[in-house]
């Protein structure tokens, strides 16, 4: 596993990303340096791997950092989250803090609950009748998981991009203008046009589609469709954007463009991304959580997690020995 910033890049898009990334890391320890690990009690010995238990989460408290990220604003705080599908427990007392204006990656082997967890954050699991969720997901002092939470208002603030691009069978313009109009954010044609242009620019798609806004969104290529879906999500100016393996259906060039986009969008949005691609997590994420069998085994800033994983499970997964 190479360090994110030392990984060679060959596309122009990815080059921009490198710059972005190193700028964003100015305040952080230099690459390759071993950072102080998670603060979970001074008495606990630090071993770089070799301990299978949930070292990142001892004490059952949300993982928090005592290093340079302490001043960052929390976007969402998850406490003791359990989820069952019928009798099967898919998520086991998860605790995690997600910081504003960062990219947080969720990695882990298939079926470990990453996507399920992601879908808890905007209550998409409500659509699955057999799912039962307990625990607290706090956002601005309110429990997202509470029964009385207005899911429409929640999803207005927590947008989502799916694994397979799923534009509506409408024009490119309509795809983006759809949700803002639905929420009465814009009404006049002129406002809509402005908003659509801005969202498409933010999603890096404007130059490619500005002359064919009236064509169906489904006529675009897979990578363009995915950026259209991102534009559709950011048109609502949400606080958080959840991305569920957003590039797994895309070619390498489209993937690089979307990775670059994630890093850029972090300025305005908090991004949580599920990925099967560890290089991707290393390239784009500020923080990474390693999931295994419905538990968060380890959660740390990406460089630390990838360079000095505290648990053998994470180390084995990252080095490709497992999963």
């Amino acid at each position: 596993m190479t360090h994110p910033d030392s990984a060679a890049r060959d596309t122009a898009a990815a080059d921009g990303q490198t710059e972005q990334r190193s700028r964003s890391r100015e305040s952080r320890p230099a690459n390759g340096e071993v950072q102080p690990a998670v603060d979970h009690g001074a008495s606990e010995p630090q071993s770089a791997g070799g301990r299978p238990e949930r070292q990142g989460q001892s004490g059952g408290k949300p993982v928090s950092f005592n290093n340079e990220v302490d001043h960052e604003r929390l976007s969402m705080t998850v406490t003791d989250l359990d989820l069952w599908y019928g009798d099967y427990q898919a998520l086991k007392s998860l605790d995690i803090e997600i910081y504003s204006n960062t990219v947080t990656a969720l990695i882990g082997p298939s079926g470990c609950g990453k996507s399920t967890f992601l879908r808890c954050l905007n209550r998409m699991n409500d659509l699955i009748p057999s799912a039962r969720i307990e625990g607290r997901i706090e956002m601005d002092g309110r429990n997202v998981n509470a029964r009385e939470m207005d899911v429409v208002a929640l999803r207005r603030r927590v947008g989502m991009v799916f694994q397979n691009p799923n534009p509506f069978p409408k024009t490119i313009f309509e795809n983006v203008a759809y949700a803002p109009r639905m929420h009465d954010i814009v009404s006049s044609r002129r406002d809509q046009e402005e908003l659509v242009e801005q969202a498409l620019r933010d999603a890096g798609l404007w130059d490619e589609v500005k002359d064919k806004l009236d064509q169906p969104g489904t006529s675009l290529s897979g990578g363009q469709q995915q950026r259209l879906c991102i534009a559709r999500a950011i048109a609502l100016r949400p606080d958080v954007i959840l991305m569920d393996e957003p590039t797994s259906a895309l070619d390498p060039i489209s993937t690089a463009i979307i990775e670059d986009l994630m890093v850029r969008l972090r300025k305005d949005f908090t991004i949580v991304v599920v990925t099967h691609n560890m290089q991707q997590a290393a390239r784009v994420a500020d923080y990474t959580a390693f999931f295994h069998l419905g538990e968060i085994i380890e959660y740390n800033d990406t460089a630390t997690l990838f360079e000095t994983p505290a648990t053998t499970k994470a180390e084995d997964y990252i080095t490709g020995r497992y999963g």
Binding site: L127, R156, M160, F162, N164, N166, F168, Y178, A179
Partner: protein, 283 residues
């Protein structure tokens, strides 16, 4: 290539040709019947088609089919409107809310039974629960029995078409903060519209030619009845039936019946073609 495989391929090829020939013959027989029906109707009916067929009411001599065509149109349209409202709502429930619930399974099963229920039983039922208590035959009773026939058709096609809408679109809309009703109306209906329209048109075509349910309900009449749905109302299928059987000794009425049969067939054919056109619009 050795000889065993060559003979194997030759045998398969021959079997393929044989089955192809059988399929062609079967198709030919089907077409033969269709064209025989059309040919008979055109040859016997086209001679009596004139403007007066559409403007005159049925008389013993020299009348038209205006009242019967009008009656069929009114009853079929009213039944289709009611059937569409009920059927689309029920089909939506089955597709969007019912899912695998026991209640939904029961409703689906009953709907399938209703779909294949003999239409004379439907007529008999409406006769017993509407005509007898009201004390007279009426167009309303006819409308009701036609509604009972079209509703299952619309329910079925609505549910099928709604289920064709990919879940990813529902999720996309939900993730943007859309209410459930919004997802159903704006996402599902707009995608399933063509398919649902096709189902409604096919249902319309089906009930416009139904005779048995009208036998006990709207009966028939040889008078104009424009909007008096509480009274008996003329209709094409019954007129054809009566003119061909109990009035078969009056040549004018028999030729009217042939003309009526031709008009009805042509209308149903056009409706089917329209339905095909709509369903092709979908893709």
């Amino acid at each position: 290539m050795n000889t065993t495989t060559t003979s194997l391929y030759r045998r398969r090829k021959r079997l393929n040709q044989l089955v192809m020939a059988a399929c062609l013959v079967a198709t030919g027989i089907g077409f033969l019947f269709l064209f025989a029906i059309l040919f008979t109707l055109v040859s016997k009916g086209v001679g009596s088609i004139s403007l007066s067929i559409f403007t005159e009411r049925t008389r013993m001599t020299g009348g038209g089919l205006g009242n019967a065509i009008w009656g069929t149109l009114v009853m079929t349209c009213v039944a289709t409107v009611i059937g569409t409202i009920v059927g689309v709502a029920a089909g939506t429930w089955l597709a969007e809310y019912g899912g695998k619930r026991k209640m939904a399974k029961v409703i689906r099963f009953i709907n399938d039974v209703l779909l294949s229920a003999p239409s004379i039983i439907v007529g008999l039922f409406i006769y017993a629960v509407v005509v007898v208590p009201m004390g007279n035959f009426s167009a309303w009773a006819g409308v009701l029995s036609l509604t009972v026939i079209i509703v299952p058709v619309v329910i079925r096609s609505t549910e099928d078409m709604m289920q064709l809408i990919p879940n990813s679109l529902r999720e996309a809309a939900a993730a943007l903060g859309a209410h459930r009703w919004w997802i159903i109306v704006r996402v599902c209906y707009s995608g399933a519209r063509a398919g649902i329209m096709t189902g409604i048109l096919l249902g319309f075509a089906r009930i416009s030619g139904e005779t048995a349910p009208l036998l006990f309900t709207s009966l028939n009449s040889n008078q104009w009845n424009f909007f008096q749905l509480n009274n008996e109302m003329a209709n094409l299928p019954m007129t054809i039936y009566q003119n061909m059987t109990i009035n078969s000794f009056i040549p004018d009425l028999v030729s009217l019946a042939w003309a009526g049969a031709l008009i009805l067939t042509a209308a149903i054919l056009i409706l089917n073609i329209a339905a095909r056109y709509f369903s092709r619009q979908r893709s």
